[in-house]
Symmetry: C3
Subunit: 340 residues, 3 copies
C-alpha cells in the first residue's frame, strides 16, 4: 500500500498516535491479522486481543482513549472505527478505478443514444436507440441497455446486466452482475387459457440504489415500479410489478416482494422472506428470515414466522412448541385420572 | 394515442356509448387516474369512484348496463372489462413492435443454422450449428442458442437468455431476460467423492409457455424435462431435471420443483413454495406461498404450510397456535388445582 | 451408438454375459424403456419388471448373480450398476466433446491474458487483463472473465457466466450458465444513510467444484469466500461474503448461506433452506428442505424446520400439531367439567 498513516488519518478523520510515515502492508480484519497490516476494533475487548501484536496499526474508538490497551503499536482514534476503516478501503481499493473511460470498439451503441462525458462502455455491450447515459457512469462489458433507458451520473453497471426499454436509473446506482431491470410483470387474464397482459410501465431506481447479482425487478403493468433512494437489495431477490419501496430500506438475499406491495422507509427484510401482493409495510418494520407477510404491517413492527406474527409472540410460541410433547403427555394423564 | 374510441370498441368487442371520435390520452388504472385517459372498472363500485371524473373513457361490465353510474363520460360496455382493456393494451403497446426483422451484423450465426422468414436476431447473439429458428421469432441481443436447438414460430427471446444444446421451444414461447433453459440437472453418484452423472436429455417448452427472468430449467438426465402448453412460470423459479408440468399451470416467483416431480394441468403454486422430487401434484391443485410439498397431492387439493396440510387444517391450526400460550396457562392451572 | 457391449463392459468394469458384438440403440431408464437400449437396475426387483423385455442389455448388481431374473437378454454384472451406467454415459455423450479448441475471432481477449494449450474461448467472450486460463479449459460464448482471474485446467465455463476480478478457479471446475462468481458482498455501514463498504476480497473455488445456473457467490469483504473441493452447488443458490464451505458438500437449489458462515465437509443442505451468518455447521450435518438454521450445528446433526430442530423433535412435533385441534377440544371439555 502506498498511503502513510498520516494520510490514512486525514482520509478517515482519525487522530493518529504513532509513526506518521509508517505504511501498513495491507488492510486486514482482526479475525485474520496480517503482519504490518491495519485493522479496526469496534470495542475495547477486540483491541486487547493477543493476536493484534503483529498489526502495523489499529483503529480504535475515540471513547476508549486514555484506557489501557494491550496493543502497543500505532493507534488511530476514530468516533466510528468501522467507518474510518471503510473510508481507507475506499481510498485504497483498485476496484473500478482503472477502467478506461471510452466506448469499446466492439460495443454496439445506437447513433441516437446520448453518452455523457467520462463514460466507459465495455466490450460487447449494447446501447439501444434513444438511451441516455450520464457523466461518469461505468458500463462493464456485455451489458444490455434497452431503448429509451435513462441512466444518471456516476453509476456502475456490472457485466451481464439487462436493463429493458424505458427504465430509469438515477445517479450513483450500482447494479451487480446479471441483475435484470424491467422484465415483464407476471400478469395474465384467464379467457379459456392464460392470456398475457402487456406490461407497459417501467422501473425507476432512485439515487444511490444498489441491486444484487441476478436479482430481478419487474416493470409495472402501467406506471412504475419504484425503488427509493439509498435502498439496498441483495442477490436473487424478486420485486414484482408496481411495487414501491421507500428510502434506505434493506432487502436481503432471496427475498420476494409480490406485485403492488408498498414497503416504507428504513425497512429491513431478512433473507428468504416473502411479502404478499397489495400490502403495506410501514416504515422501519423489521421482517425476520423466511417470514411470510400476508397482512399489512404497521410502522416499527418486528415480525417473524410464516405466517408472520410479532417477534415476542413468535418467541413465546417457540418456547411452548418445544414443551408441547411433554404438555401432551400431561393432558393424557389428566384424561386418565379424571376418566374424561 | 392514435386510436379513437370507435376503434377501441372494435378491437375489444365492447359497446360504446359516447363520442366515437374521441382519442384517450393514455391507458391508465383507477388507482392513478390520468386526465383524458381510458381505464376499466371490474365492478360497479369501482366505476363510481369520485376520482374517475377526469377519465376520457371507462370500460365497465355489460351486466351493470342500465344501473346508475356516477361517471358521466364515455362508456364502453364489455362482458369482461379487464380482457377488453388487455386487447386495447395489446393493440397500442409499442413493445416488440419496432424490432427490425434482420440478422444483426454482429450476431454470430452458424452456417448450418436454419433461420425462418421474418426473424430478428439481435446484436451479439450466438446461434450454434444445427439450430433452427421459426418464422416471426424475435431473438434480442446477447442471446445464446446452442447446438441443434429448435425454436418455433413467433417466439420472443429477451436479452441474455441461454438455451443450451438440443432443447426445444414450440411456438409463441416467451423467455424473459436471463432465463436458462437446459442447464445440467443436479445428479451425482458417490464413489469416494461426488462423481458427475452426464445429463444427456433436454428441455421441451410447449406452445405459449412463458418463462420468467433468471429462471432456470434443467435438462433431463435422459429423455425430457417438459413444460406444458400455456403454463406460465415467473422469475427466479427452479425446475429440476425430468420434471413434467402440465398445461395452463402457474408457478409464481422463487418456486422450486425438484427432479422428476410431475405437476398436473391448471395447478397454481404460489411464491417461494417447494415441491420435493418424484411426487405427483394433481390437476388444479393450489399450493400456498412458502408451502413445502413432501407427499403427493390429489387433484383439486388446496394446501398450505411447511410441511403442507389442507388449507382448512392449516387455518384451524393457526387459530389454535395463537391461543396456545393462554391454553398452556390453563393446563398449568389445572395441574395445580388437581395436584397432578 | 457405436459401442459394442464388449466395449461397454470394458469401460464400466462390468462382466458381460451375452452377445459381445451387440450395439445398444441408446441409453435409457427403466421408467422409459426403449427398444434395444441399455439400462441399469439398482435392485433385483427393478431387473424383474415386465417392461424390460424390450431392452438390448441390462446392467444388474453383481450381488444378484446366480439368482433368477425374468429379463433374458444381455446382462452386465457390476458392483454398482449406477456407476457402471454413468461411465458408459460419459464415454458416449457428445456434450462438450466437439468444441473447437481455439479462440473465436469475436472473443475479446486482453494481450496480457495467459491462455494455456488446448483451450477453447467461445464467441463474444471477454477475458480481461492479467487473466490466466489453464490447459484444456473450455470457455463457452458470452462469458466474462475479469481482471487477474485465475482459472485452472480442464474447467468448463458455460455461456453467460460472470467471473469478476481476482477470483480463482482451480482445476476441473464446472460453472453452469449465468452463474456469478465474485459479486460484491452485501456490506454497508449506516452513517445517516447506508454507506457501501468496498468488498476487496475474492472467491476461491477449489478443484472439482460445480456451481449451478444463475447461482451467485459473493467475493469476501477482505480475504476469501471459499468453496471446498468436490462440493456441488445447485441452481439459484446464494453464498454470502466470507463464507467457507468444506469438501464434498451438497447445496440444493435456492439455498441461501449468509455471510461468514462456515459449513463443514460432507454437509447436505436441501432445497430452499437458509443458514444465518457467522454460524458453524459441522461435518456431515444434514439440513432439511426450507429449514432455517439460526444456531450452530454439531457434526452429524440432522435437522428440519424453521427455526430448525432435530429431525426426531421435528417429526414428533408434526404428529402433535396434527392432534392439536382435538386436544384443544379436550381441554375445553375438562374446563367445563371441572368449572375452571
Amino acid at each position: 500500500m502506498s498511503l502513510t498513516l498520516k494520510e490514512m488519518a486525514q482520509i478517515s478523520g482519525a487522530e493518529l498516535v504513532g509513526d506518521e510515515s509508517f505504511k501498513p502492508t495491507c488492510l486486514c480484519g482482526l479475525d485474520k491479522v496480517i503482519h504490518g497490516g491495519i485493522a479496526y476494533a469496534a470495542e475495547l475487548r477486540d483491541a486487547n486481543a493477543d493476536a493484534n501484536k503483529d498489526l502495523g496499526a489499529l483503529i480504535v474508538p475515540t471513547k476508549i482513549k486514555g484506557q489501557d490497551i494491550s496493543y502497543k503499536g500505532n493507534i488511530l482514534y476514530a468516533n466510528n472505527p468501522e467507518w474510518a476503516f471503510t473510508l481507507i478501503m475506499r481510498a485504497t481499493t483498485t476496484l473500478n478505478k482503472n477502467i478506461k473511460r471510452e466506448i469499446h470498439k466492439t460495443a454496439v451503441v445506437a447513433e441516437t443514444a446520448k453518452i455523457g462525458a467520462n463514460v466507459a462502455i465495455g466490450a460487447l455491450s449494447v446501447v439501444e436507440d434513444g438511451a441516455e447515459i450520464g457523466e461518469g457512469t461505468i458500463i462493464y462489458p456485455q451489458v444490455y441497455i434497452g431503448r429509451d433507458v435513462k441512466i444518471g451520473k456516476n453509476c456502475i453497471v456490472y457485466p451481464k446486466v439487462t436493463i429493458r426499454e424505458e427504465c430509469v436509473l438515477k445517479d450513483y446506482v450500482i447494479l451487480q452482475p446479471g441483475a435484470v431491470i424491467g422484465s415483464d410483470g407476471f400478469g395474465y387474464v384467464f379467457i379459456n387459457k392464460h392470456e398475457k397482459i402487456p406490461q407497459i410501465g417501467k422501473v425507476i431506481l432512485q439515487d444511490d440504489v444498489e441491486i444484487g447479482a441476478n436479482t430481478t425487478i419487474d416493470r409495472a403493468k402501467m406506471n412504475e415500479t419504484v425503488i427509493g433512494a439509498n435502498t439496498k437489495i441483495d442477490n436473487l431477490v424478486q420485486i414484482g410489478h408496481n411495487v414501491k419501496i421507500g428510502m434506505s430500506s434493506i432487502l436481503v438475499s432471496q427475498v420476494g416482494v409480490a406485485g403492488s406491495a408498498e414497503i416504507g422507509n428504513g425497512v429491513i427484510i431478512a433473507g428468504q422472506a416473502g411479502v404478499s401482493g397489495h400490502l403495506k409495510v410501514g416504515d422501519r418494520a423489521v421482517i425476520g428470515p423466511q417470514a411470510g407477510i400476508i397482512s399489512a404491517l404497521e410502522a416499527g413492527s418486528k415480525v417473524m414466522g410464516s405466517p408472520a406474527m410479532s417477534y415476542s409472540d413468535f418467541m413465546r410460541l417457540q418456547v411452548i412448541l418445544k414443551k408441547l410433547p411433554e404438555f401432551y403427555k400431561e393432558i393424557q394423564a389428566l384424561r386418565k385420572k379424571y376418566n374424561i
